[in-house]
């Protein structure tokens, strides 16, 4: 059991950027017959998502979101002392993308900047790290930038993953302020499940070779991908999530002495509608309190929790609001957070 609690720190503003290019899933039929596509799409509940073009990176989406955030909230760039960039689709293997963004956003050289590479639960992990550092009065404001271009990770010829993922980026401003009550974070990891979601080659364990880039039929269903594409064992991810996520939510509620019905909103990682609705049913949650963006943005990995807040809760976050956040994914890692928001300022979504 590892819980972190904080008071007097919180997210005061959120913004998001998505690519202009809309992928309509019913029409995403280049590699599979339309009736089969419809069956899959109806099951996972992803009807549209956004794809970047070849030149655009996660950092470009985050840059656009950050500029919007800075402009809308009149943030003084010289007072941003910490910048954390969360992604598994960075610009380069080195240097860290956060450092490139420090310069691009015109932040001072005194800004602390580093990347977090974790996957779908990373925004919650990232919040806990930034909240933790912000306990130190030497830091003024912090920026969390979280972006993913999963469209570049998965094979369009592998039906297990071809219809789920989309691209997006967000920016969050974190400030210290007495108005924020207690936030509670629970974070977990299980590396024995490293093979459930993975890109097998292209790192240093299995370096990139012409062979790892070759597309091959990988299973009895005729799915095609290379060793440098991501893959997912959806069935076992589902089983794992159903065992661990409800348990972590219950334990965190107990630890925080909160009732599941006490929140204004509950935000789940937008994995797919099949898994999300199953977990919500299992926990007997009020679905009216669970906003969803899976149908229009798909699974944007770690971006999906903050993106859902920006997309669905604009004009609904005036005053004191209590939210529960839950995310899970590659690793496996999973996390639950109970966080207060006070007059959260949400920008309009930027299209890039």
């Amino acid at each position: 059991m590892s819980y972190l609690t904080f008071t007097g720190v919180g997210i005061t503003a959120l913004s998001a950027a998505v690519p202009k290019r809309v992928i309509k899933n019913y029409e995403y039929t280049e590699f599979f017959p339309a009736d089969e596509v419809k069956e899959v799409v109806d099951k996972i509940g992803v009807f549209e998502r956004r794809f970047v073009d070849e030149e655009t990176c996660s950092s470009d989406l985050c840059y656009a979101a950050a500029e919007k955030l800075i402009l809308d909230n009149k943030v003084d760039r010289s007072e941003i002392d910490l910048l954390v960039f969360i992604s598994q689709t960075p610009d380069y293997r080195m240097p860290a993308t956060s450092v490139i963004l420090q310069h691009r956003l015109g932040l001072p050289n005194t800004t602390i900047a580093f990347d977090i590479n974790l996957g779908c639960s990373a925004f919650i992990y990232g919040m806990s790290i930034v909240y933790s550092m912000m306990q130190n009065s030497g830091l003024r404001n912090a920026l969390i930038l979280d972006g993913e271009t999963r469209s570049k990770v998965y094979s369009a010829k592998d039906r297990r993953t071809a219809f789920i993922f989309g691209d997006a980026g967000v920016a969050a401003l974190v400030e210290r302020n007495k108005k924020f009550g207690e936030s509670v974070f629970s974070m977990n990891s299980d590396g024995s499940r490293e093979n459930l979601i993975k890109i097998n080659a292209g790192g240093y364990r299995n370096p990139s070779t012409p062979e790892t880039l070759k597309e091959k039929v990988v299973d009895e269903y005729g799915n095609i991908r290379s060793e440098e594409h991501g893959y997912m064992n959806g069935g076992d991810v589902f089983t794992f999530v159903n065992r661990e996520v409800p348990l972590d939510i219950k334990n965190t509620l107990n630890y925080a002495k909160k009732d599941k019905d006490s929140f204004d909103y509950i935000i789940f990682h937008q994995a797919n509608n099949f898994i999300n609705s199953h977990v919500a049913r299992k926990l007997k949650l009020d679905i009216n309190k669970i906003p969803s963006t899976i149908e229009k943005y798909g699974n944007t990995s770690s971006v999906s929790v903050p993106l859902t807040i920006v997309s669905e809760l604009k004009n609904k976050m005036a005053g004191d609001k209590s939210l529960m956040l839950s995310a899970f994914g590659v690793g496996m890692t999973w996390a639950t957070a109970i966080v207060p928001f006070v007059d959260l300022n949400i920008s309009d979504i930027v299209e890039v």
């Binding site: 959806g234 069935g235 299992k282």
Partner: protein, 73 residues
Amino acid sequence: MKLSEFIEKLSEVLEIEDREINPTDIFRDYDEWDSLAYLSVIAYLDEEFDIQIEEAEFKKLITVEDLYNITVK
């Protein structure tokens, strides 16, 4: 749950309406069986029986009766 009731539920989960399911049937041979049907079945096992079964274990199940037997263990 009795076997007959389980079979009835399984027909609904697999959307088999036009014929009888028998305990000795090899469920992977059904026309309705595919990776989505698999997801529906493991979701049903979780929801109704709180059973979380992984793919490696599931692969050992062959007949409808095998499926039923894990729910009464």
